[in-house]
Amino acid sequence: MPDHVSIVPFAVLTGAVVLGAVAMMLSRNVVHAAFWLLEVMMAVAGLFMLLSAGFLALVQVMVYAGAVSVLMLFTVMLTLRRREDAERPLDLSAASFGLAFAFGLAAATAIGSLPGARVRMPAHAPGVAEFGALLFSRWALPLEIASVVLLIALVGAVWWTGGEDR
């Protein structure tokens, strides 16, 4: 595996991620914002693909783009009583820009203070078979714990919303 990825696809994909995120924040229509979020998720999948993490990219597409954002869109479209309700107020005052700037500064300082994580790339990109073998041997217990936590969350959500017979 080379130590660098080629610059052109990287620039296109990171540009898509950053611009998509900005467009999501700036669009007044919540449905448009949800579609921009979807674009960001797809571009992140592209970045995974660029790093030879094919399995991760496909899971990103399937879970985040195919399920999470579809559910988000579904909920937004189902709960809007009128079409005009999709327009949200956008605060462009100096105070909000100041707050955003302060947050950006804090995040940049926090990331800058971390020790430089210079990871050496492996000799070859592990395939999906190696990934699966490792996931179900060395990381089997954490995987099971995570799945049980998710299952509990699922059952809890159903119980929470369950009608009169609860």
Partner: protein, 333 residues
């Protein structure tokens, strides 16, 4: 040949297959449905009506591209693209034979499923962008339905994947060589019969075919999400639907019916050379069965459809996955 040019040519080959499939499948649907309704179907344009679809393509291409004044301009324009592109992406991992393939992905089956999971996004976009009640209802129905039936579809795929020990479509087909007990072809449909039935039901729902076509429902939603579209934008949505049918059938043939293998002759060089034709024949047989079901069964209600998936199909497919994993370990197939 440079890898970029090679990739471009392979992609173009996939586009060509998709377009040819679209033209052939539309005529096939009309003829099969006509047969089931005791009609003749198209007969006038060309012998046996074979040129009818070609004439229809020209009609779609020359029609006015109409946009309702209240529609959301960009979403309305973008939606047909987002419906069409995933259905095209799903072609890329398919393999017509050991050598006839568009790509060699170790995650092939997962790639097809991931592409399929993107289909509801374009439909939701079309439903919202059209700014019409029928369209939005159709879009929401399609999204709810596809999310519900994606889960049993993925679980039913797990059985053959476990048997073959790979997500690569060619590896799955090659694991189905040989015979059981001397006579029965080693196709995964036999040990995975329950899985195949789940796959067939979920596939019929994922491609929005009757009895699960509530998102289009001509008689109540007047084609739902595609209602406001005209010309080639409508054509793309239509084409995507037919290409999804082909993908589901091809995936079923790969996973359960030995792909391009001819039973009892799966090492014969002549049979292997005919692989692509065998694969297409099996896939079209699968599509014919899907059309037969479409022409026979009445449409169910949307609440029945969702309840059937969440309360019956998903528990059954979960139990079946666990059972087949345990049996596979015990018998060591």
């Amino acid at each position: 040949m440079s890898p970029l040019l090679q990739a471009l040519l392979r992609t173009l080959a996939a586009v060509a297959l998709l377009l040819v499939n679209g033209v052939v499948l539309i005529l096939m649907l009309r003829k099969v449905l006509a047969r089931l309704h005791l009609r003749l179907g198209p007969t006038r344009v060309g012998p046996w009506g074979v040129l009818q679809t070609v004439a229809d393509v020209f009609k779609l291409l020359t029609k006015e591209d109409f946009r309702p004044s209240g529609a959301d301009k960009w979403l309305f324009r973008l939606a047909p693209v987002l419906v069409f592109v995933p259905s095209f992406m799903a072609y890329l991992p398919l393999a017509l034979s050991d050598t006839w393939r568009f790509s060699d992905l170790d995650t092939g089956v997962l790639f097809v499923l991931a592409a399929g999971s993107l289909v509801p996004i374009g439909i939701l976009m079309a439903g919202w962008g059209s700014n019409a009640k029928w369209s939005l209802l159709g879009g929401l129905r399609a999204a709810g339905q596809q999310i519900a039936y994606e889960i049993p579809l993925m679980l039913s795929v797990l059985g053959p994947v476990m048997f073959a020990g790979s997500l690569n479509v060619a590896a799955i087909v090659n694991a189905q060589r040989g015979v059981w007990l001397g006579v029965i072809p080693r196709w995964f449909v036999l040990p995975q019969l329950v899985g195949f039935v789940i796959f067939a039901i979920a596939g019929q729902a994922e491609t929005s075919q009757t009895p699960f076509d509530m998102s289009e429902a001509e008689s109540e939603l007047i084609t739902g999400f595609a209602n406001e579209y005209s010309g080639m934008r409508f054509g793309f949505m239509f084409l995507a639907e037919f290409s999804n049918m082909f993908v589901v059938s091809a995936l079923g043939v790969t996973l359960f019916f030995g792909g391009w293998l001819v039973p009892w002759a799966d090492r014969n060089p002549l049979a292997l050379a005919l692989g692509p034709a065998v694969f297409m024949l099996k896939t079209y047989l699968g599509i014919a069965v899907m059309m037969w079901v479409r022409g026979t069964l009445p449409r169910v209600r949307v609440d029945q459809l969702l309840a059937f998936s969440w309360k019956t199909l998903i528990p059954v497919s979960l139990a079946w996955t666990v059972l087949s994993a345990l049996v596979m370990r015990a018998v060591n197939l």
